[in-house]
């Protein structure tokens, strides 16, 4: 029961190939590696909610594959709410998306960022 595992559950409901920090070397494209930054929002009674800035790095061999996975993640995450690993997610808001080509890996990379609020 932690926000860290709640995030994994949320992502894993949308896409099976999601990995915290880095993907195993044998992972088949396309896949997602993600990082998060967690910050409390305080009131005088203590932490009112926890905000999570979630960054998804989508890797694929073709631009079409990358776009398809990015769209699938957006559909699953934008506006998502509910209970994940006993943690209550108020809302997940998409905040940014950018794209890049990585010559060393010959892969397409789409970066998505989301802001999540946990009660």
């Amino acid at each position: 029961m932690s926000i860290r595992s709640a995030i994994y559950d949320l992502l894993n409901d949308v896409e099976a190939d999601v990995y915290p920090l880095y993907a195993p070397q044998e992972t088949t494209d396309p896949y997602v590696a993600y990082t998060m930054r967690t910050e409390p929002v305080r009131t005088q009674e203590g932490v009112a909610l926890t905000e999570v800035s979630l960054t998804l790095e989508i890797f694929a061999n073709t631009f079409d594959e990358a776009i398809t996975l990015a769209a699938s993640l957006y559909t699953g995450l934008e506006g998502a709410s509910g209970t994940y690993d006993s943690e209550s997610l108020m809302i997940c808001n998409w905040t940014m998306e950018s794209e890049d080509y990585i010559p060393n890996l010959d892969k397409i990379n789409i970066t998505q960022e989301y802001l999540l609020k946990f009660e």
């Binding site: 009131t43 005088q44 009112a48 808001n93």
Partner: protein, 135 residues
């Protein structure tokens, strides 16, 4: 000199419809207590370059901000007291111990909503009436 943590100085208001005394306003993120006094100047020629005067009426106000609760009960209760013109009681505690208390009227009350990326917030202002008791 030891410092005082922000969450240890707490404003409580008797605002609940149940009549609970000095209940904390739920979700408070900050409050300010301001006290100002009128200055009645009595400077005359004999004072030369110095200013002379006496203290006048003391005006005290309290303002604060809070996150609205999911049922909006903290806003609802404050709104009801303002609409009724109720004189409410307030108290400031320092780490749970009584520090300052008095009565007031709610002079302004706000409720703000935005997008799904925002939380609903509220604000209030109190005009303090009568004597303020300090411990």
């Amino acid at each position: 000199m030891a410092k005082l943590r922000g969450d240890l100085l707490v404003l409580k208001v008797q605002h609940h419809s149940s009549g609970s005394v000095n209940e904390i306003i739920a979700g408070t993120t900050s409050f300010n207590f301001d006290s100002s006094a009128e200055f009645l100047e009595t400077t005359d020629q004999a004072d030369g370059l110095n200013t002379a005067g006496i203290g006048g009426k003391v005006t005290r106000t309290i303002s604060g901000d809070y996150f609205a609760t999911s049922t909006l009960d903290n806003f609802t209760n404050l709104y009801a007291h303002q609409a009724a013109g109720t004189v409410i009681e307030w108290a400031v505690t320092n780490d749970g111990a009584a520090y300052m208390s008095g009565e007031a009227v709610i002079t302004s009350l706000g409720l703000s909503a935005g997008t799904s990326a925002d939380l609903v917030t509220g604000s209030y202002s109190l005009a303090v009436t009568g004597t303020v008791t300090t411990s």
